[in-house]
């Protein structure tokens, strides 16, 4: 059982109201050390995790949103964001952080990590996975 598995981490909860988003991100970072094929999906209220400009000073909690920008450094480059979830909430990709990774095979060219997908396309992504993580 030492082959690589395809892991999809599902993010469906808003940040700060509950800790799931943050503790989920901690698992994602750890998983990078295991050299699996890791993807992240953001749907439903999970899309709120990626909204830029978060400032938690007033609620006295740690702002963990900068960590998403570091995912590329952990070689986590497939971040699926569901279109229907954005639209229902009146959000566009411009409201979200711009997440990138550097492709060492192409002279470290900077590439987008976020892939905007429809619900049907996300279903296809789910179907390809070996393990689905939920928090």
């Amino acid at each position: 059982m030492s082959e690589t598995k395809k892991f999809l981490f599902f993010n469906r909860k808003a940040p700060y109201g509950t800790i799931y988003a943050w503790e989920s991100l901690e698992v994602v970072l750890i998983s990078a050390a295991f050299e699996q094929d890791v993807s992240l999906a953001f749907m439903d209220d999970g899309v709120y995790q990626l909204v830029k400009g978060q400032d938690t000073k007033g609620i006295g909690m740690k702002n963990f949103s900068p960590t998403y920008a570091a995912l590329g450094d952990y070689e986590i480059t497939k971040i699926y964001v569901e279109k229907e979830s954005l639209e229902e909430r009146g959000l566009t990709l411009d409201d979200l952080q711009h997440l990138v990774w550097e492709d060492e095979d192409e002279d470290y060219a900077e590439k987008d990590s976020i892939r905007l997908v429809s619900r049907a396309e996300l279903a296809d992504v789910m179907a390809e996975q070996d393990v689905l993580f939920n928090f």
């Binding site: 599902f10 909860k13 799931y20 996300l122 279903a123 789910m126 179907a127 689905l132 939920n134």
Partner: protein, 98 residues
């Protein structure tokens, strides 16, 4: 590569059943447990969401909530914890909608 979709919340309080039912593929299965079992009651408005899917419901959770099997939507299968284990085994992976 079929998925077992697990929903444990009431569809009248929470949107998980709605999301799950809208992303399921035709080979996938839906299992309702805990407060999720309310979604299988035929006379409730939420039962419209499960139409067209392969749906099972956990019998012990139904009984706890006073729902007799004749109240269920057509085609819903009632299973016990052993049947739950079988569904996890026969599908390729599990998606818990939390």
């Amino acid at each position: 590569m079929s998925i077992l979709h697990l929903v444990n919340k009431s569809p009248y309080e929470n949107s998980n059943l709605n999301t799950a039912s809208s992303i399921m593929k035709s080979d996938d299965m839906l299992l309702l447990i805990e407060d999720g079992v309310y979604g299988a009651v035929k006379s409730g408005k939420a039962s419209a969401m499960i139409a067209g899917h392969k749906v099972s419901v956990l019998g012990p959770d139904l009984a706890a909530r006073g729902i007799s099997e004749d109240k269920l939507a057509d085609g819903v299968e009632v299973i016990d914890y052993n049947g739950f284990v079988d569904l996890v085994e026969t599908n390729d992976k599990v998606q818990s909608w939390l």
